[in-house]
Amino acid sequence: MYRVTTKQVMGLKALTHLIALGWLILTFYLAFTDQMGADPVQALIHFTGMGAFNLLLISLVISPLAKYSKQGALLRIRRLIGLYAFFYAFCHFLSYLLFDLQAEWVLLLSEIVKRPYITVGFSAFVILTLLAATSTQRIQRALGRRWQHLHNWVYLALPLVGLHFIWSVKSGLVEPIIYLTIALTLLFLRKRKLLKHVTK
């Protein structure tokens, strides 16, 4: 049977860096220089938000894909993509705070408390931050079994992100509903694991 080689995994990692990081840098460059349409702030917030959601979905597609294709080596790019999902979410949050709210911390706090879609999005961001902060092998070893428990929180972050998206649009629910459906499908593929986690 064909096996994905270490070299190919390295290639995929390089490609991930090139696309995810390169695209982000290019977008920020265009936004800083006012070359991203009439409202670069909104464009940047949409780009980083959708990028984070896309990357999160890709990171969660990897394990079912590796399982069904019997290519265990694919799992080795999962952490990198997950970290990029966090990094895009971080840029999303930072763009909202610095360029939309323009560092009005009081307004940020009141919006997090008052607006359900911000509350939900911020909660997902806090989860992704925790997961990114504990993503090194050293911490993984130190936490032992608790590490997996902690990282199962991604299954909560995912529907929160979907809800954040659906709640943030003015009208036209088709696209957010497609996203939410993909997210729920990815959760459904893990139903046994999730049920075990919940009933325990």
Binding site: I19, G22, W23, L26, T27, F28, L30, A31, F32, T33, D34, Q35, M36, G37, A38, D39, P40, V41, Q42, A43, L44, H46, F47, M50, G51, N54, L55, F99, D100, L101, Q102, E104, V106, L107, S110, E111, K114, R115, P116, Y117, W167, S168, K170, S171, G172, L173, V174, E175
Partner: protein
């Protein structure tokens, strides 16, 4: 709620990006070879900011207008650059993304056009395309435009008072409201063809004003901006501009103005009554259920670092309309 004093970091004319530089941005993207990458992670929002789409062919021809410049409509606000005014539009008939209208509306046909003023009037009027520009004296008015999404622009509109045309039609005493309707033409307007592309709205787009609001001298029927006839993405050939109300009240590409005795339905109110009222007056004290209306981002130029968040003013800074709502609870009638 937060009240901020405006900062003195106002933009200068010299900071406006040169149009040549602005138009060159696509070639910068292309030269970096990132076009192919777009397909990998793309979503429809990628089109929303137009980064990976090709520059629209400017097929639609606008033509210069002659008009007066009355001094009472010339505020100190810095104008939003023309390129931004004509490329950042909410006109769901041509797509829900901000840059969809400029991309999808260029072949829109405005001549011939028919605008009728009908309903509870003594003398119904029909204006054809040419008389939109000749029947009334045109004047330039610089108005602030505050979108319900909490961004704003400053636009030099050209047009005439809505009240002038209503007076000419001689409203009957029963008339209490004015209903407006956008063209319904799914062949030309892709957003009207399916719920997917049109944001789930029931077309045609309809709006309404109370008759006294419509007769207020600030209410403008606009046929142009920045010295020329309107481009289609801004509502050619004729649109409403009601500067003390949120932008969605300012209905575009109008074919019918009907005087009625009952409050007419309005599109966004029908879609989400708890979020958008009939009045939709700009009001920093009444938040949208999902976001604050206390402040807004003024779109001028300067990219990400322009400090453009400013406090939103009651009635968008047009206190002369306050008497229209003297005894009304504006929390209830939002």
């Amino acid at each position: 709620m937060l009240i901020r004093t405006p900062k003195s970091s106002e933009l200068k004319e010299s900071q406006v990006t040169d149009e040549k530089t602005y138009l060159a941005r696509r070639s910068i993207v292309k030269s970096l070879g990132f076009l192919g990458a777009g397909a990998l992670l793309s979503s429809s929002s990628a089109r929303g900011y137009g980064l990976f789409s090709s520059e629209p062919e400017p097929i639609f021809k606008t033509s210069p207008l002659s008009f007066s410049k009355p001094s009472n409509y010339r505020p100190d606000d810095i104008l939003t650059p023309e390129q931004k005014v004509i490329s950042h539009n909410n006109f769901y008939e041509f797509g829900t993304g901000k840059s969809d209208p400029v991309e999808n509306a260029q072949s829109f046909k405005v001549d011939p056009w028919g605008l009728s003023i009908e309903g509870l009037v003594e003398k119904p009027i029909t204006l054809d395309y040419d008389s939109l520009f000749t029947k009334f004296d045109l004047e330039e008015r610089i108005y602030r435009l505050r979108c319900v999404e909490a961004w704003s622009m400053v636009v030099p509109w050209i047009g005439f008072s809505l009240g002038d045309i209503i007076k000419q039609a001689k409203p009957l005493s029963k008339a209490k409201y004015v209903a407006f309707e956008t063209l319904h033409d799914p062949k030309q307007m892709p957003g009207q063809r399916s719920r997917f592309s049109g944001g789930g709205i029931d077309y045609p787009y309809v709006e309404g004003l109370r008759l006294d609001e419509a007769m207020h001298p600030l209410s403008l029927l606009s046929v142009g901006l920045y010295g020329k006839t309107l481009p289609p993405q801004n509502g050619a050939p004729i649109r409403l501009v009601v500067p003390w109300k949120y932008g969605f009240k300012s209905i575009k590409s109008i074919v019918k103005i009907r005087l009625t005795d009952t409050m007419p339905p309005t599109t966004w109110n029908r879609l989400a009554p708890s979020e958008y009222g009939f009045y939709a007056n700009v009001n920093p004290r009444v938040d949208h259920p999902r976001w604050s209306q206390a402040s807004e981002r003024r779109i001028t130029s300067g990219g990400l670092l322009s400090r453009n968040r400013i406090p939103t003013e009651m009635f968008n800074g047009y206190p002369e309309v306050a008497s229209l709502y003297a005894k009304m609870d504006l929390n209830q009638f939002y």
